[in-house]
Symmetry: C2
Subunit: 220 residues, 2 copies
DNA sequence: CCGAGCTTGTGCACAAGTTCACAAGCGTGT
DNA sequence: ACACGCTTGTGAACTTGTGCACAAGCTCGG
C-alpha cells in the first residue's frame, strides 16, 4: 500500500528517535524547513548518513530546499509507531523505579505511566509519581486494561528473568530492562537493556587507553 | 611491554563489561574454568565472538580446557581500567540524580559516589545517598580532590552543554550524559549518552513493525 | 523560458563487525 | 608413546554500516 517495503537497518532505527527529538525542537521554534546538513549538525552525525537514513522512510525531501519539518515529523512519528501512546508499566518501586515514575519526560513523549507494581507489601499502596503502587497480582489486569504496554524492569538483577516471564505472561510485548542481568524472551517480544554501570566501565576503558578514544559509540 | 598493541574494536569494548559481570558471578560461584561456549551462553552472544573478543586482550585461554576464571577476571579488569576506583560526581540532584546517588551498585563495581552538586540553593545542603548536595561553585574543588573523576549529567536537557563545559573546565575527562540533548566536548574527553525515552521509541518501532524485530542492540 | 545555485537521493567503494570452519594445541587414558 | 576428544585462536567469507561524490531535480531571478 505504501510502496515502501524496504527494511530499515538497525543502525538507522537507533538514530531515528534522535532525529525525532530534533524535529520536535525545530517545530517548536517554528522552523519550517531543514536541510540534511543542518539536521546532521544538530544530531552530531554525517549529512550523507542523515539523507540515507531518511531515505529509508520514503522520499520526503525536496531537492534544492530540504525537508519540511512538520511533514517529516509526521512521517517520523509514523515510522517509529509513536502516533499513539504506549503506556508504561514499571516493575519495582525502588530508587530507580520511583525516579522513572516521577519523570515527566516520558508522558511528554508519548509514554504515559500506566502503573507501578512491586512485590514488597510495604511498598504497595504508597504513592509514586501519579499512581499508587500495586501488587504483582494486579499485573495481568493492569496490562490488559492498557494494551499495548511497554514493561520496564527496575528490580534487582537476580529476579529480572522472573519478572520478564511475568510480564510476558501478562501480555507485554516490549520490555526495557535496567537490571544488570541477561534476560531472554520469546522471539516476538522486543527487549532492550540499559546498564548504567556498564556505561561507566566503557568510559573507564577509553580513559585508561586515552589517546584515540572515541568513547561515543551510541553517539553524541 | 606486553606485545599486545592491537587496537580493540569499539564493538568489542562495549561487550567487555558484560563479560566482566559474568566472570564476577562465576568467581562468586567458585567456578574455576569457563569455556567460550558457556561464556557465550551467559552473555547471549555467539561463541566465536567471545573468543575473538577475548583474543584482543591477549592469549589467556588454554586449548582443550577453556579460560581460568580468576585469571581472565584479572586481565579483564586490567583491560577495562577498573583496577582502581573511579569516583563519580553527579550534577543535578533531581529525580534521577538522587536515584543514581542512592544506587549501591555503582560503589560495588568500583564507581564510588564522590559528590552531588546542584545549582538550586534549595537543594544544596540536603542529603542524598551518603553525601550532602554541594553548590556548583564547589565543583572544581571536588574534582581536584578526587581525580580521576567521571562526571554524570542529570540535569534538564537545555543546560546539559553548559554543565558539560563546567565539568570539562573543572578537569573531568569522562562524562556520562542522561539529558536528552547533544553535548560536544574536546576530543580527548570521553563522552557517552544514555537516553531512556530514546530506548522506548526504539521499542515502539520494533513493535510497530513486528515481524523481524531484533530490538536488542544496546551493546548488551 | 533558461540558467545559476542549492539540496536531495543513491551508486559505489571502503570500513567495521560477525560468523564459519578448521588447524593447532592441551590433557587424559591406555 | 600415541590416539582421541575437546577447546582455543584466527584466516577468510560474508554481512552490515559509512561516507564520498555526483546526477537528478527543485526554486528563483531575470
Ligand atoms: N538506582 C539506580 O540509579 C540504578 C542505576 C543503575 C541500575 N540500577 C538497577 O535497577 C534496578 C533497581 O535498582 P534500585 O536502586 O531501584 O533498587 P531497589 O532495591 O531500590 O528497588 C528494587 C525494587 O524491586 C522490588 N522487587 C524485588 N523483587 C521483586 C519482584 N520479584 N517483583 C517485583 N518487584 C520486586 C523491591 O521490592 C524494590 O522495591 C537494579 O537492578 C539496579 O541494578 C539502578
Ligand atoms: N527522572 C528520570 O527517571 C529520568 C529518566 C530519563 C531521563 N531523565 C533525564 O535526566 C535529567 C534529569 O531528570 P530529573 O527527572 O532528575 O529532573 P529534575 O528536574 O528532577 O532534576 C534536575 C536537577 O538539575 C538541577 N539543575 C538545573 N540546572 C542546573 C545547572 N545548570 N547546574 C546544575 N544543576 C542544575 C535542578 O536544580 C534539579 O535538581 C533530565 O534531562 C531528564 O530528561 C530523567
Amino acid at each position: 500500500m505504501d510502496g515502501h517495503a524496504r527494511r530499515i537497518p538497525d543502525a538507522t532505527v537507533a538514530r531515528l528517535p534522535e532525529y525525532l527529538r530534533i524535529l520536535v525542537e525545530l517545530a517548536e521554534q517554528r522552523i519550517g524547513t531543514v536541510s540534511s546538513e543542518r539536521l546532521a549538525e544538530l544530531a552530531g552525525v554525517n549529512a550523507a548518513k542523515v539523507r540515507k537514513d531518511l531515505s529509508y522512510l520514503g522520499t520526503y525531501g525536496t531537492r534544492g530546499v530540504g525537508y519540511d519539518v512538520d511533514y517529516l515529523l509526521f512521517q517520523m512519528r509514523q515510522a517509529l509507531g509513536v502516533t499513539q501512546d504506549w503506556p508504561v508499566v514499571v516493575v519495582g518501586a525502588g530508587n530507580l523505579g520511583r525516579a522513572l515514575a516521577n519523570y515527566a519526560g516520558f508522558s511528554d513523549r508519548g509514554f504515559p505511566l500506566a502503573a507501578v507494581v512491586d512485590v514488597d507489601d510495604a511498598k504497595v499502596g504508597t504513592t509514586v509519581g501519579e499512581v499508587a503502587v500495586r501488587p504483582m497480582s494486579d499485573l495481568a489486569e493492569l496490562v490488559r486494561a492498557n494494551q499495548p504496554v511497554i514493561g520496564v524492569i527496575a528490580t534487582p538483577g537476580p529476579v529480572a528473568q522472573l519478572v520478564a516471564d511475568q510480564l510476558v505472561a501478562a501480555g507485554v510485548t516490549a520490555i526495557l530492562n535496567f537490571a544488570p542481568a541477561l534476560v531472554s524472551v520469546p522471539p516476538n517480544i522486543s527487549l532492550r537493556k540499559v546498564d548504567l554501570a556498564l556505561e561507566l566501565q566503557i568510559l573507564s576503558f577509553y580513559q585508561s587507553h586515552r589517546e584515540s578514544g572515541s568513547a561515543s559509540r551510541s553517539w553524541a
